[in-house]
């Protein structure tokens, strides 16, 4: 392999690609060539670096300098100054909010400093489309160890001893799942990777598949050896084209190099993988529904037990684990159960990836040790709430999760604590909300999602989610009754108790946690006909503040419904009977002269 003195690691995760990182890569290559540095400097496309808020991103190694928010025009300067003259370019570096001095090195940036990478260890470091780079960073070493030195039982014991629990949401101990399946005598057995990531705002699985597809493959082959499977499926939703492409490339490379197929690594073990593309239904993420989809059936869950470990794909014993779980497995085999168990809490070991989104300064993908507090994630890594707003809640665990308020910020993030608080680990979506978020509106959003995604098999889920949605929708429109809250709670609990799969069993969570922590907001909507956050359109009205209005007519031009009256330099007036409450006038006003009024009750007619 050629010795380059510098490597330019260009983030090519989906987030950065959509901001134009491939164009940056092209420009870098062109500029490096123009400066005659092509034999000294290597340009590499890597998987998601994690700091999506700041894309496109380039990391210069070995200097460790982190460049962000790059534009094609910045490239000549970067190459000339940094690579030719050795002067890192300050103006392209990251400047923390409320500070003036840039932080040149990636390892010193708060966002990266507190993370511990296991499943994402190769993110932003290797080219995911080159198997030799994966091998260079100890790739397939765990597989070699598992196939040549370990018995299936030893592999299962190691995974069990590590305390690894399923990263897809439910947190079932991985070692125990494998042991159940290994016990089954019937063959063939199957291995499935669940990459059907459907939570709004979540992109953990996508990033792992894009950044390090070989880690997932290696984990699956190790799992196959442990349970005695000969065939596996990687289930990826078809909305993830880049992930599919990289996994396809990785599977082809693994086959070519004898890491999949017959006689793997000359040990006689045979196993092969196939990609199955999902059509994007949320319920397909449920393991029995996903298995049905792999078989070519409609993605609907079925009753458990029997669990897939006993009766899975085509009725055969099947182990199904999430992307992140599979990517963690090789690390445990390579470095040992004790190393992994040394991180985290009593019952939740290792690390967890979270997609940090919403009203947060540093949107991105983070991997943190279990047991870290929500505060450390939101403020330490995430940089807090932007625009000087106040933190209101963090929604954890996707539509099945719950909203936790500011007083829960010191809660340690582990499976048990989150469940006790009414939320759940889920697959790792974390949506931060500020004081301009209406919690009833949030509950309505998730309920709408769930009633849409409910497969309809269980009456409790099909009708329950729909009725809950209708009630909450009425509340946001000022049509709520006092008795609605008790009815909502009852419906949520019934849906939970009477539904068969995880979707229905957790569908009440958005309602139950918002009621538990933000009951006063529901009451304000119902009793006072008031939306404290100023979000619910029926409960607010836009008015012009006469003392601030300059009569510039900006709002009048912006109004899509022609309901603003007023001549130039005169105070304008909004016709409430025609106003559709789109807020365009408020956005257009440069003098803060338009306000949404919500303090007094608004008569609903």
């Amino acid at each position: 392999m050629k010795h380059y003195r510098a490597h330019l690691l260009v983030c090519a995760g989906t987030g950065c690609v959509s901001c134009g990182s491939f164009k940056i890569k092209e420009a870098l290559e062109k500029e490096v060539l123009k400066r005659g540095l092509q034999d000294e400097v290597q340009v590499v496309a890597t998987g998601c670096n994690g700091f999506c808020e700041r894309g496109p991103i380039v990391l210069v190694q070995p200097d460790g300098v982190f460049y962000q928010l790059l534009k094609v025009e910045d490239v000549p300067l970067l190459v000339e100054e940094h690579l030719l003259k050795g002067r890192p370019v300050q103006k392209l570096m990251y400047v923390p909010p409320a500070e003036k001095q840039p932080v040149p090195k990636m390892k010193d940036i708060e966002f990266f400093k507190h993370q511990r990478l296991i499943a994402l260890r190769n993110r932003g470091r290797i080219d995911p489309e080159k198997i030799e780079e994966y091998i260079a960073f100890d790739g397939y070493e765990a597989l070699a160890k598992a196939l040549s030195e370990m018995t299936p039982q030893a592999i299962i014991d190691e995974i069990a001893a590590s305390g690894l629990r399923g990263r897809g949401g439910a947190g079932f101990p991985t070692g125990r799942k494998w042991a159940l399946c290994a016990k089954e005598k019937r063959t063939p057995k199957y291995i499935i990777c669940n990459g059907d990531e459907g939570d709004p705002g979540a992109f953990m699985d996508r990033s792992v598949l894009e950044a390090d597809p070989h880690a997932v493959i290696e984990g699956m082959v190790i799992g196959a050896k442990a349970i005695g499977a000969s065939k596996g499926f990687v289930y990826i939703r078809h909305e993830y084209p880049l992930a599919i492409k990289r996994v396809e490339i990785a599977i082809a490379q693994a086959r070519e190099n004898g890491l999949l197929g017959e006689d793997i690594l000359g040990t006689g073990f045979a196993f092969d993988l196939e990609i199955v593309q999902g059509a994007g239904a949320f319920v397909s993420g449920e393991e029995t529904a996903l298995i049905a989809s792999v078989e070519g059936q409609v993605a609907m869950p079925r009753q458990r037990p029997p669990y897939p470990a006993q009766k899975g794909a085509w009725g055969q014993p099947t182990v199904i684990n999430n992307v992140e779980t599979w990517a963690t497995v090789p690390n445990i085999i390579r470095r040992g159960a004790a190393w992994f168990a040394g991180l985290g809490t009593e019952t939740s070991k290792g690390t967890k990836i979270f997609a940090l989104v919403g009203k947060i300064a540093n949107t991105g993908l983070v991997e943190v040790p279990m047991g870290i507090t929500l505060r450390d994630i939101v403020y330490g890594i995430g940089g807090g709430v932007p625009d000087k707003r106040d933190f209101k809640a963090v929604q954890i665990g996707g539509p099945s999760g719950g909203c936790l308020p500011a007083k829960m910020l010191d809660l340690p993030v582990d499976y048990e604590s989150l469940t006790a608080a009414g939320a759940m680990m889920g697959s790792g979506g974390m949506i931060v909300m500020d004081d301009k978020t209406c919690m009833v509106d949030v509950a309505k959003y998730f309920l709408n999602f769930l009633q849409d995604e409910s497969c309809g098999k269980c009456v409790s889920c099909r009708e329950g989610t729909q009725r809950m949605y209708e009630i909450v929708k009425d509340i946001t429109e000022g049509k709520g009754k006092e008795s609605d809250l008790a009815l909502l709670e009852e419906l949520a609990l019934i849906t939970k108790d009477a539904s068969m799969c995880g979707l229905g069993q957790t569908a009440g969570n958005p309602v139950l946690t918002t009621l538990r922590y933000f009951r006063h907001e529901y009451e304000a909507h119902i009793l006072d006909k008031r939306c404290p956050a100023g979000v619910c359109k029926s409960l607010i009205r836009y008015v012009v503040l006469a003392e601030k209005c300059t009569g510039c007519q900006s709002c009048k031009k912006a109004c899509p419904n022609d309901c603003i009256k007023g001549t130039l330099k005169d105070v304008h007036l909004i016709d409430q009977s025609k106003c559709i409450k789109c807020g365009a006038c408020k956005e257009a006003c440069k003098f803060e002269a338009i306000e949404e009024q919500r303090d007094e009750a608004i008569q609903i007619v």
């Binding site: 490597h7 190694q61 460790g64 780079e133 260079a136 397939y140 190099n257 006689d263």
Partner: protein, 130 residues
């Protein structure tokens, strides 16, 4: 590289050995870090050739854990081309008035061998940062 040949366990180790430099640089951890000063003065005095020779020597010696980087003018333009050699756990050593021959000597004796080439050294340590 790996090619289309089926890998064995021994092959994996071989690939890892061959690609070690990749890890050294991407992890930014090596036994030595060599900085060639490439300000305008350095480039004018021939720092480019020094860099080429350094990279060639590293290639020939087939060592994997030496990090080469560039930096701007070190302030002593008169002594260009210059470079700084930092071995793990030792203070930085600055060399000046470099020529290809001197560069080769420093590479073998200091960077690989760990012994300073005393008669070529400009100074040991670095300025105090304020």
């Amino acid at each position: 590289m790996a090619g289309t040949k089926k890998l064995t366990i021994q092959d994996l180790a071989k690939i890892r050995e061959k690609t070690k430099s990749l890890m050294t640089i991407r992890e930014s951890e090596g036994r030595a870090r060599v900085t060639v000063h490439m300000g305008t003065c350095g480039i004018a005095a021939g720092a480019r050739d020094i860099m080429d020779i350094l990279l060639r020597e590293i290639g020939t010696a087939n060592v994997q854990d030496i990090i080469v980087t560039t930096s701007g003018c070190a302030g002593l333009c008169n002594a260009e081309p210059m470079m700084t050699v930092e071995l793990k756990g030792h203070p930085p050593v600055k060399y000046g008035y470099l020529t290809p021959a001197k560069m080769q000597k420093i590479f073998v004796q200091h960077i690989l061998g760990g012994q300073m080439v005393v008669d070529l050294v400009l100074g040991v340590g670095s300025e105090t940062m304020y």
